[in-house]
């Protein structure tokens, strides 16, 4: 029923630039002529909690929230966080998984192990799983903080927005001195 509406989930940990990334994505979608809605949970994000953002676009979008088993693409900014939202993914979902690991408190203090074999499990279950080391690639572009833009570059291959629009919105989204670096980060992510 919602076949003409596409749903993207951005997931990670407070401080990873997820909300910035989803804002850029929405601006680009709007520029490309789509109706777009996004929703996010960020109440206590600053204090190390999980952050998610749903982005939905199409000719007409009603709900800013996707239902379970309906997400078409997930970008996971933190490796383990992918696992938290598998119930949201459609069977044919594409996954973009950043290799960065951020230990939650229980792992930090040695009470629980960081989950193992995440990539293997995901690859067994989903056809399209792209592993990406966004932090390392962002460093190549000039700043580790641009990992979120690297990930946008990666997802841009799966979205119906042309490069000129992405470029225009990225230029609009950052102060002058950071534009070149972020454009490079986007390009590196796109070709990763």
């Amino acid at each position: 029923m919602d076949n003409e509406v596409k749903s993207i989930l951005l997931a990670g940990v407070g401080g990873q630039g997820i909300l910035r990334a989803s804002d850029i994505m929405c601006e680009a979608l709007m520029e490309a002529g789509f109706d777009v809605k996004k929703s996010e949970v960020h109440g206590m994000a600053q204090r190390g909690g999980c952050v998610t953002s749903h982005v939905r676009y199409g000719s007409k979008v009603y709900s800013p929230l996707a239902k379970l088993e309906s997400i078409d693409i997930i970008i996971s900014f933190e490796k383990m966080e992918t696992m938290r939202y598998l119930n949201y993914l459609s069977k044919d979902a594409s996954l973009i998984v950043n290799s960065e690991k951020i230990y939650p408190p229980a792992v930090n203090i040695g009470d629980l192990p960081y989950p193992k074999d995440i990539t293997k499990l995901l690859q067994e279950r989903y056809k399209t799983v792209q592993k990406i080391d966004a932090t390392e690639l962002a460093q190549k572009a000039g700043n580790v903080k641009a990992a979120n833009v690297v990930l946008l570059g990666a997802i841009s291959n799966l979205m119906e927005i042309n490069s000129a629009i992405w470029e225009k919105i990225i230029k609009k989204s950052f102060p002058e001195k950071l534009i070149k670096m972020n454009l490079a980060a986007f390009q590196i992510g796109k070709t990763a």
């Binding site: 929703s39 949970v41 204090r47 009603y62 800013p64 239902k67 229980a106």
Partner: protein
């Protein structure tokens, strides 16, 4: 021009477009950004009031003086402001007055999940409920029109999902501000003594009759007749969820959720066969529609608790109970935590170790109820810590001596801690109150308050001196400590608990994220792996940069692992250095 806006940004924009230039609020998730955004527009007056009751009273005063005014708060803020709200319903508003209530279904960041539509019915005040950002902007403008037309305060209800989701909004040219202010005298209307209030009471009922008639023709009560087999009566964000999964059913979308348009509802009911009422939280619409003698399906299939999403509505209507095929993996949770270098950490580490009952309050420090700190044992509402600590200490008498502490943040203290502290002095309390003064309203994102010395509009102002205030309330035992100094903190708390009579400790250290914090970021600390014995004492601080990893056990050594500090996160507050008995942190 179309722009992407959150519901909160759109409300602020709508208020501005309506030509309104006056607003007051107290910050609270999910409402905070409304006033922050509004305050950025040219030529507005916007203030953070000390609490929601004051904000509403300020707005009432402005409206009485002929200035259209807005008051904004989260759902529980309406409880604080209920007193003036219920009676301004009687007096009417003279000029326009709109009160925004931002509700929080699912309790994303609140202590309860109350449905504030009930306030509309209770206080006999009309309420509009937008479903997205575009509507948020339009509805707040309509709210001002209705307020002016019917001489009534008007509620605009948002929810977290409306306030914090973004969608496309068409901007319009803002109306210019018109100065219609003057002093007018009308005691029969504004002096609510019994004789006059009884007369106004009758006017309220007349106004409700008129509002009901208006609801019948209100442009945002919309009927969409498609497939007549199923009709859905809904309002606000749940409309979007339902349309998402059932685009072909018929809808009655109510833009005004109180009072209800009875004729329009009957007209809709006559056009469809099976009727569902889709609403989050209370059966507010459902009960009123059932009272009209109309058969509808509602809470027997839809949940009372938490916010909806399209799937919840789809499953309820399709009676689907199929379990999800993709199971969620059991992975470690990621609870929010106090930031590295948070000044609350030292204080609550000490409190947790002292085995005292800590009556808590609303703020970042509430998070210290969790392991490993476990330094806070109750949280009810803004200001409750002080009254509760006093009540416990009175009830426990000797058993509670030296064991009852109340903790409250600086902004929360100013919001509702002053009167209960006065009560402690007056009624000879024995409890200790600690004001966790981090120089800002941290939890909601660094808002100014009377003790910061700045206003919402960024002007420098008279700065409240907490110590002088506490002294003026009648507290003799007052001391100021630095919670980065664990020894001083522990000693101060122990000494004050040992005293007879009430004491106040002001635990003073600005929030690490605070922009005007004068503290330089210290260098990150390091743990010497040779000196660390792996005793885990530093883990008791629950500080995000500190981790512990197993190492291979060497012969003759009891050491199973060592602690480490993530240099990228540590800002060198030095608490771990103070708790380490082996001098391994430097």
């Amino acid at each position: 021009m179309k722009v992407l806006m959150s519901g909160n940004e759109a409300i602020a924009r709508g208020v501005y477009e309506a030509g309104v230039r006056f607003a007051a609020a107290y910050p609270g998730t999910p409402s905070t950004e409304i006033l922050e955004e509004f305050s950025k527009y040219e030529g507005v007056y916007a203030e953070w009031s000390p609490n929601e009751k004051v904000a509403v009273e300020v707005a009432i005063g402005a409206a009485l003086a002929g200035e259209k005014a807005l008051a904004v708060m989260k759902h529980v803020g309406v409880n604080v402001a209920a007193d003036p709200i219920f009676t301004v319903s009687y007096t009417g508003t003279n000029s326009a007055l709109v009160i925004v209530s931002a509700d929080d279904p699912s309790l994303h960041s609140s202590q309860n999940e109350q449905d504030n539509r009930n306030y509309a019915k209770f206080a006999k005040i009309p309420m509009l409920e937008p479903a997205d950002a575009q509507e948020a902007k339009e509805f707040v403008k309509l709210a001002f029109e209705i307020s002016e037309k019917f001489d009534t305060p008007v509620f605009l209800r948002s929810t977290t999902r409306v306030s914090h989701s973004k969608s496309l909004v068409s901007l319009e040219e803002p109306l210019p501000h018109q100065d219609k202010t003057r002093i007018s005298y009308n005691p029969e209307k504004f002096v609510m003594v019994p004789a006059y209030a009884r007369l106004r009471r009758v006017e309220v009922e007349k106004r409700l009759v008129n509002l009901k008639e208006y609801a019948e023709i209100f442009s945002e009560n919309k009927m969409e007749i498609n497939n007549p087999d199923v009709g859905i009566i809904t309002a606000g964000m749940p409309y979007n969820y339902a349309k998402d999964v059932f685009p072909d059913y018929s809808y009655l979308k109510l833009g005004m959720v109180y009072p209800l348009p009875e004729k329009l509802i009957r007209e809709f009911v006559a056009k469809v066969k099976k009727i569902y009422v889709v609403e989050e939280l209370d059966p507010f619409l459902e009960e009123q529609i059932k009272a009209m003698g109309i058969k509808v399906i509602g809470k027997e299939i839809f949940p009372y608790t938490n916010e909806f999403d399209p799937g919840i509505i789809e499953n309820a209507i399709n009676k689907s109970t199929k379990p999800s095929t993709a199971s969620v993996q059991n992975i470690p949770s990621r609870p929010p935590n106090l930031c590295p270098g948070c000044p609350h950490r030292g204080l609550f580490y000490v409190l947790g170790k002292l085995k005292v009952f800590v009556a808590g309050d609303i703020g970042c420090y509430t998070l210290s109820f969790m392991k490993p700190l476990e330094g806070l044992h109750s949280c009810i509402c803004m200001g409750a810590s002080i009254g509760m600590a006093h009540g416990m200490s009175k009830a426990l008498k000797e058993k509670g001596k030296g064991k009852i502490v109340g903790v409250i943040g600086d902004s929360t203290f100013i919001h509702s801690g002053i009167t209960p502290l006065l009560n402690m002095a007056y009624n000879k309390s024995n409890a200790l109150i600690i004001i966790c003064d981090n120089s800002t309203t941290a939890m909601t994102g660094m808002q100014e308050h009377p003790a910061t010395g700045y206003t919402l509009l960024g002007e420098k102002t008279k700065q409240l001196d907490l110590k002088v205030l506490v002294s003026a309330l009648g507290i003799d035992n007052i001391r100021v400590i630095d919670p980065y100094d664990l020894k001083e903190t522990r000693n101060a708390i122990k000494e004050e608990l040992a005293k007879d009579g009430p004491s106040v400790i002001i635990s003073q250290r600005p929030c690490v994220l605070f922009k005007r914090s004068k503290l330089k970021t210290e260098r990150a600390l390091k743990i010497d792996p040779d000196k660390c014995t792996g005793c885990k004492v530093c883990l008791g601080l629950g500080c995000p940069p500190i981790s512990w990893q197993k190492i291979e056990k060497k012969e003759g050594s009891k050491r199973e692992g060592i602690a480490m500090i993530d240099e990228t996160l540590c800002n060198g507050c030095g608490l771990c250095m103070q708790v380490c008995k082996f001098g391994s942190i430097s």
